[in-house]
Symmetry: D2
Subunit: 341 residues, 4 copies
């Protein structure tokens, strides 16, 4: 049975496996100071056109979010996020576990609205009880969002401008970054994104790796001793080579972007097919996650042939479901899905 | 240049790489519920002769220690450890970051002494200020220890008995477990170890894996919702398959023990060679870490040919150094080291 | 100038001062084990008709909330509260600082709705991603709420029933408990309240004390070692006598209820006067906090004679303000306010 | 029966009670911004000859220690303390609860040795595994120490110099500060102490107050938003007047020093009497805590007449006991003790 459940169903891109094989018995130092890590960092700096960027390799998304957020906030600060932000909903309270509140503003198909952000920050910082409340200390967004949507360059500029006017850093969760940048709806490049925010990560787990997220502080602005902080959070991999080799491979010969484009190509074909089938879209997503509304009575028969993700209840008779493509999705899977829809 | 610096210098055992290749495009669910994880857990239960054991796969040692300890302690409790215990020294305060104190007792070449443990627990629990102090909530030991030493079965029985008489669980850090069990000095089996303690882990990172530690609660005694706790600690791998496949391979056809025995075989040859060379031993270690005292003036010339770990200053003219073998150490490396000593 | 700003503007009830004077040079043990603390606890148990209740004296409200919540939750649990709950808004993130999320549901003039609570808990505990989310671990309400409103006995029974059906304890923040119980709208007694919930506190700071909150676990159900937990949270007073003597006085000859009734009597006269003056009420509060809408242009002139609390912006020309009475409010203050309104 | 158990057996100095009475019905704002707090702060600044000092009033010692330490450390830092330091032993893990390790060096009758401090810091900061360990982030000492001893001006200058040479702040726990400064052995003034350290507190609980510790950052060097941090730690008193009035009284007409001198005067008479009685001293303490070794068989009979603190077991037949004087100790108590010794 084929699966569109998520974008982390397969192992790693074959080129990564090849490199792991080829380098396997090379003896390397641990904890991320080997030459593959160094090479991967240099390539990421180049891809970001950020020669001063500090790059760290962490293992997974929840871990990366809580480590970066805790490292950048003061104890009395919280992180501002859309109500639907991954950090506030699906990370088992990992941010709160580090002592920080997730301060929520409305999410619009996963996105925050610049005007609402400004109003929130203005109200928060001028509240007469300000000193008895959690201070906003950072703005968190995801790109693409949990709903597959992306911000335009202008929206991102506005959000960054607002955050910075309140002296707050902007953090972009890029667990699916490649799929956002490769979207035909994206009017933004990686260097532009790196320039606009204060920290972001390049998701590896969902874009070709077994595991790994590359955290980028674009202007040599990593919190002091971030390396030790990752150790303290249990986020440092002893065999750092596993992360270094994977990212070195992804950032060689444009592989990261190439496989992201493949996923988006598949997603656009999937979307077209769903349209042809007359499906109602739950969200008009320009990235690798596609959301449609299905009749409940169709859910079970479909599930016998194709795995998908139940997303949300729409009404007593209908449910929103998610189909995700990835770097590994073959064209035949879309044809297969077409058959059973 | 060859390296004896540590036991995590190479990638993964070739059989693991093969399995990763063979399964790479199989679509599997995330977060550790795939059939490889299930199979690996079943094999670990069998190897431990603990049919009710609950097994969880985490990523690395520091992460595993802080997650297990935080999960098993009440807020007002600390973990009792040798002064030299890894959790108290080389984990960047990861345990304290979760809110718990590491309560220390003397370490004797890395080991705690049963009598001293009993005296400590008795004094702590009868102190007139008991209620204003941190309560001992767990006993932590490593097997082998950070100094390569191991506990005898009788010592372990005593320690477990004492811990249990104070109603404390015993936690065994098995980052190098295989190398302990494979030692000729070890009079203990994996099932016996599992029977004696309340939680332990089977180290993968240092024994053949890219990453991964298998936490075992031998009597269905995992803390409630330990799965969610691992998520909250950023210790859950999205592509759980990476851990499941590795451990499934290690526990197929006795591979874990076989490669551990190889490492010990190499260590014993190394030890014999060091003796032949007239080296003074810093510790008489029966496992894969060997510690000798070298003249300072020899350190630099040796380092041009062989990498090793500086362990401790002995006197102004001498330094203790560590040579570690692993599943990947070839016999030639020992011959090479002999040449340059 | 007189003040209606809040209910903690004055010192302590004169009878408390008298007792502090009378006992001042008596030598007593520290940390809450003196005979005044014991006597106060016995009187509170009697007032609650809860002979098995465990009672602890803490210093202030935020401290009490975060200590009780942290003590009763498991690490992976959060506390369910109205969006407007004090713990989620005006405590500077004290709950999150202990590692726990405040899970919010709508507030209706400060109150949660039983049906919405049930729906929230049902959705949370049946979510397919349940294990990746924060578990609801406790229900928190305040009585009276931050908006002066109170729950009826039936509402409280429903809320308790729902919480208990999900195996969650119900925690009642009683910072202003006396003013709630003394309200003419209250159909509930202290023993009934104690019977319905699992932990609550009897606010002293706002009801006659210099400081102090009496935490009551009505059925000998305090978390293990709660005494040590208060120490760990910095919530244990060395001179516990200060708290013991205050509460002992408050629970002698019905003083707590008597002074609460006075505050409510003053509040009802205040309310009547505000009605006479034609004020629009922002909330119809039956307790010691009264909220009316004033024209902005009247705010400044009034502030020259009477201090009050700015509560909320209503529209560009109007603001909601709060007038609070307390055990210490003299009738003349209401007459004085009448003059300047 | 009389008690020498501790220095917090009585209530508050009579002048404090008078002021509380006199000001009781004055309506004042909450949370430490009333004019008594302002006045007390001004007087403390004057007494410290530190016109730029920032002063905060917290409630108790454990709370103050954990709040100050957490506020001044980075997440990856720990606090260096004598093994016998209050923060590491008798505060129920309050520092660790905030996520920080207490890094211990030897205590010599409660004092740290400058040379050992320097060696520890040098070793810690040059350890090859430095980045995998907890960074020293602050030096904590108590004055007087838990053993009644005090540092000389020269020792304090050395310790401060060493701490500052490693860019670490020096924190002085002054829970008994008055009793240290009033000692005949003290060659240091309050302004000198304020000049040498980076933060300290003037203990009120043990020196005349019901409760309260005045934290002083002598050079306008409080951590940003320390006010909010105290709220987050549950360390802010709603009726801040209780702390303001107490400290305002203590720092009017030299009262703090005057009552401290009384306690020391009583301690020196006590010490002389103990010498006359032929007691062996456990520690030669120059402050209000006196420690002598008693035969075990004398303990019980004495306890029928005088309460004292069991301090330590000396040998099977002898025990060290503590007698503490305070601002409230009358001369007759010493005569009474003489009778029963």
């Amino acid at each position: 049975m084929i699966s569109f459940t998520c974008d982390y169903s397969e192992g790693a891109h074959p080129k990564i496996l090849e490199r792991l094989m080829a380098t396997n018995l090379e003896q390397l130092p641990g904890y991320g100071v080997d030459h593959y890590c160094e090479s991967a960092k240099a390539k990421i700096r180049a891809a970001c056109e950020a020669p001063e960027a500090e790059v760290f390799f962490l293992v997974g998304g929840t871990q990366t979010n809580s480590t970066v957020i805790a490292a950048m906030l003061q104890d009395y600060e919280g992180v501002v996020s859309a109500e639907t932000g991954h950090i506030g909903v699906h990370e088992a309270g990992a941010v709160e576990y580090t002592g920080h509140k997730v301060l929520t503003i409305p999410g619009h198909q996963g996105k925050i609205d610049p005007t609402e952000l400004r109003e929130y920050l203005e109200a928060a910082t001028t509240d007469p009880n300000y000193e008895h409340m959690v201070f906003p200390g950072m703005v968190y967004i995801s790109f693409p969002t949990e709903y597959g949507t992306i911000y335009t360059k202008q929206e991102l500029e506005e959000i960054a401008g607002i955050a910075h006017s309140y002296k707050l850093p902007l953090f972009i969760d890029g667990a699916r970054l490649g799929y956002g940048l490769a979207s035909p709806a994206c009017d933004l490049t990686l260097p532009e994104l790196a320039r606009l925010c204060d920290v972001f990560y390049i998701g590896g787990t969902k874009v070709g790796c077994f595991c790994g997220e590359a955290v980028v502080f674009p202007r040599a602005n990593a919190p002091r001793h971030f390396y030790t902080i990752t150790k303290q959070h249990g986020a440092m991999m002893a065999k750092g080579r596993l992360l270094g080799i994977q990212f070195d491979t992804l950032f060689t010969d444009d592989l990261y972007f190439q496989i992201s484009r493949h996923a988006i190509d598949m997603a656009m074909r999937l979307k077209a097919m769903l349209k042809e089938k007359g499906c109602t879209f739950f969200i008009d997503s320009p990235t690798n996650q596609q959301f449609v509304v299905l009749e409940n009575k169709k859910l079970k028969p479909l599930a016998e042939h194709v795995a998908y993700d139940l997303w949300d209840r729409v009404d007593p008779d209908h449910t929103a479901v998610r189909f995700a493509t990835s770097w590994a999705t073959p064209l035949e899977h879309i044809e297969e899905l077409r058959r059973w829809l």
